[in-house]
């Protein structure tokens, strides 16, 4: 398979991969999985003053899914919590040159972000 250089670079570097310190305050996490798609992803966010300060992820998936997780983490850091609802995997698909056949896998990342959002709302409540 031919991979876009943006996918290749993010897959190989995966700078933001790995867990955040579980003991830290202001931490929320959310995950999603689909066995038939062979994808599992977990995002961990450290919130600071209502904004997303740090994002880390773990992911089991194809190179496109890993690259999309890295891209997502890049986009979220420094943004307000509302960014969790706004990030579009279709935009990710276009930006990274990912084949549309992989959209189903990428949508699991949106599900994981939605789970993060729910945790965040629970903490507020």
């Amino acid at each position: 398979m031919d991979y876009d250089s943006q996918v290749r670079q993010r897959f190989l570097s995966a700078h933001r991969a790995g867990p955040l310190n579980d003991g830290a305050s202001g931490l929320v996490s959310g995950e999603a999985e689909d066995r038939t798609l062979n994808v599992w992803v977990r995002f961990q966010l450290r919130m600071l003053h209502g904004a997303i300060h740090t994002v880390r992820y773990n992911v089991y998936g194809c190179p496109h899914t890993v690259a999309a997780a890295e891209w997502t983490a890049e986009r979220l850091e420094g943004r307000p919590a509302g960014a969790l609802d706004e990030l579009s995997m279709r935009k990710c698909l276009e930006t990274l040159g990912i084949p549309v056949e992989k959209l189903g896998k990428l949508l699991l990342l949106e599900d994981a972000l939605a789970a993060c959002r729910r945790r965040l709302d629970e903490h507020k409540g």
């Binding site: 773990n58 998936g61 194809c62």
Partner: protein, 389 residues
């Protein structure tokens, strides 16, 4: 290959040996033996002599007499000719074909075409190691069975089938036997005239010859109908101008092949690689542990996806499936048929060593694989264990 790249996909195709290139070059250009080998003038007869020499070289290597060898475009065409041609020529005997789910697409899709034309196809069972027993084949034989087609060496797992024993059962029941020998030619000793094999598919490009040329072995007395028409070449079985340079390359490639000596060297490289990979926790070898060809290693790395592993080590040419299927990101049907789950099949790479593989390359590959599997497993830490059995 470009500098820094390591080629470990010899089961997909092999680079053409320089000595083969030189022999082929002698048949190109005005100064070469480039005339039509069917022409009666001296240049044509010189080209014909080169073709017949190559036929003899190939026959010698596969343990056959030259008149049993007919040139084709490759093993896929030979498989088509064997199945379609033999079923058509022997339809008075019945319309039943036996094959296995482990075969190459060239056989499976041709079997599908026969089904659409009214033939029935039975798929013989295999064990968890991908081995087909002669008993299982015999159990499938019916009164209307015409042909059994079982590959010699599996292109994905390297498992070697005992085609002599399977063929014997077929002959005892009066059934024709075809063996796809594309992966075994030049790597595993073949004795086609001595074995109870009626038809065999051969190819050049998996044994350091050129792409686009192959052959079919047809035992004397076995009837096969041609698939195409338009001339008397190859006894009318496969008409069309003979490609002298490719045929000469095929012959030279098999002349150079030494299944006994080179096979032992390949097995050493393969085992060295397996020793290096087996240090990875949970890694598993697919296919029979000893009944295997010397050049193929099919390995599952639980907890990582082969597509990701392949990109992580993209300086190495390894395969996530057979080359014919690699563009399709779906689990190998061969591994699925052997009982691997989709997740395990998607965590599997095929390594195939060859004449130009060095020990240093093997050691480097093993080291890189260990490092990248560890990196990808760390990336997936916390994931459900879908690759558990």
């Amino acid at each position: 290959m470009q500098p820094g790249e390591i080629y470990l996909d010899y089961a997909a195709t092999t680079p053409v040996d320089q000595r083969v290139i030189e022999a082929m070059t002698e048949c190109l250009g005005l100064e070469g033996d480039s005339a039509n080998p069917s022409s009666s003038h001296p240049p044509g007869q010189r080209a014909r002599a080169r073709v017949e020499k190559a036929r003899a070289q190939i026959a010698q290597r596969v343990g056959a007499s030259p008149e049993t060898i007919r040139f084709t475009s490759g093993a896929t065409e030979s498989d088509n000719l064997a199945l379609l041609g033999a079923m058509a020529a022997n339809k008075h005997r019945g319309r039943h074909l036996i094959t296995s789910r482990l075969e190459h697409k060239a056989v499976l899709d041709t079997a599908g075409a026969l089904q659409s034309r009214g033939c029935t196809v039975s798929f013989v069972d295999h064990d968890d190691d991908g081995v087909i027993s002669p008993d299982a084949v015999e159990a499938c034989i019916r009164d209307d069975t015409v042909l059994v087609s079982i590959m010699h060496v599996n292109n994905e797992t390297g498992v070697v089938q005992d085609i002599a024993a399977i063929g014997k059962r077929c002959h005892q029941r009066g059934v024709l036997f075809h063996a796809d020998a594309a992966q075994s030619t030049g790597k595993v000793p073949l004795k086609l005239d001595d074995w109870p094999v009626d038809l065999a598919s051969l190819t050049a490009h998996k044994t350091y010859g050129p792409m686009g040329i192959g052959a079919i072995y047809i035992r004397k007395g076995v009837n096969v109908q041609p698939l195409i028409h338009g001339g008397e070449q190859e006894g009318g079985l496969r008409p069309g101008t003979l490609a002298t340079h490719q045929i000469v390359g095929f012959g030279e490639a098999l002349e150079l092949a030494d299944p006994d000596q080179e096979g032992a060297q390949l097995a050493e490289r393969r085992d060295r690689l397996w020793n290096g990979l087996s240090a990875i926790e949970g890694v598993r070898l697919n296919g029979h542990p000893t009944q295997r060809s010397p050049h193929v290693l099919n390995v599952t790395f639980p907890g990582v996806q082969a597509e990701s592993l392949q990109l992580a080590v993209s300086e190495m040419a390894v395969s996530t499936g057979s080359a014919c299927n690699s563009d399709i990101p779906e689990p190998s049907y061969v591994l699925s048929a052997m009982g691997l789950s989709d997740a395990l099949a998607a965590a599997t790479l095929r390594f195939s060593v060859g004449r130009f593989t060095t020990e240093a390359e093997i050691d480097h590959v093993a080291e890189r694989m260990r490092a990248e599997v560890a990196r990808l497993r760390a990336l997936a830490r916390g994931a459900p264990n879908w690759t558990a059995e």
